[in-house]
């Protein structure tokens, strides 16, 4: 009998749980709204109890406590999401399952999923996955491993050039105003233009400005890490017309400074939508269960 792995993608509005044999082979899946930690995690646990699993990968929204030496390891840190501050995700699962478990941020799971999605002979050793939706975050893979540090990266809060003549919008981040997330997440687009981002037509100037901020963030990531691939996912990036705009602007910003054929070419194989579509994080959570719990 093939081994079964469980994966949980715990988002701020909905949870997805899946069971399968690996990337792309899912035998059961469920999704439900994020309510209280008690109710939401119990629903996930009841779902996984139906199966004899080898391991579980847990990938909730952050910020998370990922320091294994901390007594709070496995829990959510302080979050504005009501009721979820300090919710002990891993502890609750451990009370129900005597199984190896992996625990990481949802966007890190998505990066890990995109990393594992490539066939072994084409595997990259470094990759950055950026989600641009209600929030903005990035998962970073270096040498095949998800990057953690003191905490986890929070690339959505990078500061970028903000030309207030061109874009007087002050940004909406409660901590930083006009950081990347404050200028470019879905709610910022909606507030800047006075209508929800998803109702803006394709030829609205919103998208050129959006591509500008994303291109600056992507360029900074290239300068900092020189990753082999940059994957852009999340709700905002479902506007696929952003991709060619972003590639063009990244090339303009880099201005042929980095003498790599990838950086001076079309970048159409470099800055990409997720290979796993909207399923990078849930499939990545399963990949975490399969590959990171040995």
């Amino acid at each position: 009998m093939e081994e079964l792995y469980g994966g949980m993608e715990g988002g701020g509005t909905k949870f997805v749980c899946a069971v399968g044999t690996g990337l792309g082979e899912i035998i059961d899946e469920t999704r439900f709204p994020t309510t209280t930690p008690d109710e939401t995690l119990d629903r996930a646990i009841v779902f996984f109890k139906k199966y004899t699993l080898t391991a579980i990968g847990l990938a909730p929204f952050g910020p998370l406590e990922l320091n294994q030496d901390s007594p709070a390891f496995g829990s959510i840190a302080s979050t504005p999401k009501s009721g979820w501050s300090h919710a002990d995700i891993l502890g609750r699962f451990r009370a129900h399952f005597n199984l190896p478990m992996a625990f990481d941020l949802d966007v890190n799971a998505a990066a890990f999923g995109e990393y594992h999605w490539l066939p072994k002979n084409r595997r990259l050793f470094s990759l950055v996955y950026i989600t641009i939706g209600t929030g903005i975050g990035a998962g970073v893979i270096v040498n095949g491993k998800v990057v953690h540090g003191l905490t986890h990266p929070e690339a959505g809060h990078m500061r970028l050039p903000h030309d207030r003549h061109k874009d007087p919008f002050p940004g909406i981040c409660p901590f930083h105003g006009d950081c990347f997330e404050g200028l470019a997440n879905g709610p910022a687009i909606g507030k800047r233009w006075g209508q929800p981002a998803d109702t803006l037509p394709e030829d609205h100037p919103a998208w050129d400005l959006e591509a500008d901020y994303i291109a600056h963030a992507v360029s900074n990531i290239i300068y900092m890490l020189s990753p082999q691939r940059i994957v852009l996912g999340g709700g905002v990036m479902e506007r696929l017309q952003l991709f060619p705009l972003i590639r063009l602007k990244v090339r303009e910003i880099l201005n042929d400074y980095i003498a790599s054929p990838t950086m001076t070419g079309s970048m159409s194989g470099y800055i990409l939508p997720p290979g796993l579509g909207k399923r990078s994080a849930i499939l990545g959570a399963m990949a975490m269960a399969k590959y990171l719990t040995k």
Copy 2:
């Protein structure tokens, strides 16, 4: 007899070569100006030939070709430094020494040196070394390894917020104008204020502005990588009064967003001058020879 390792730090104005048994134990050292590749590398080779070495670590200025699958691996890429474009550093050494050799960028060697300088029981798994002098660059250690990607990081060319009301100086980077390096390297300070940076008094407003740009770059690096330590070296950072200013500004920029005691504290143990002083790169090159050639 103890094993001897050679290290070469090849800068744009001078080369340093050293032989020793490891970090901090140097038995011979020489330094000479950077002239032509032929003359400069021959001087280095003649120096190393005096010893029976176990391995050599080569850490020249960049940009470098670090892709081991490339026929140009081991050489300098296109550089404005006259005569040095495509100089084959590693090939020239291989023609003279049948020894294991490590090859990486000078700033990566400095990062590796700072990483190895800590005693094993206090070793960090992630660290960023930023040099701020005539140029600006960063070496990144993640999980104990120097980060490479498509090429090597070029963090000096990150774009930062630039308030042209406060600082109308357009920047001096020939590729990007007002990138981090264009706004904040030594020559930029000199040009902005009309006198060489090293002649500016300690209370000159130049230093507050300089700390501002450095703090924004450091904050972006924290957001992107969450490193366990940030080391700031190079000529500009010899102005030690910059350190408390930078720490204060980083805290202001982060605004307690990252709930780590390190990020909400004084940062006096987090943003630091090099433990190895001006010798991070040469000692790092020797550490590369010792630890990366096995």
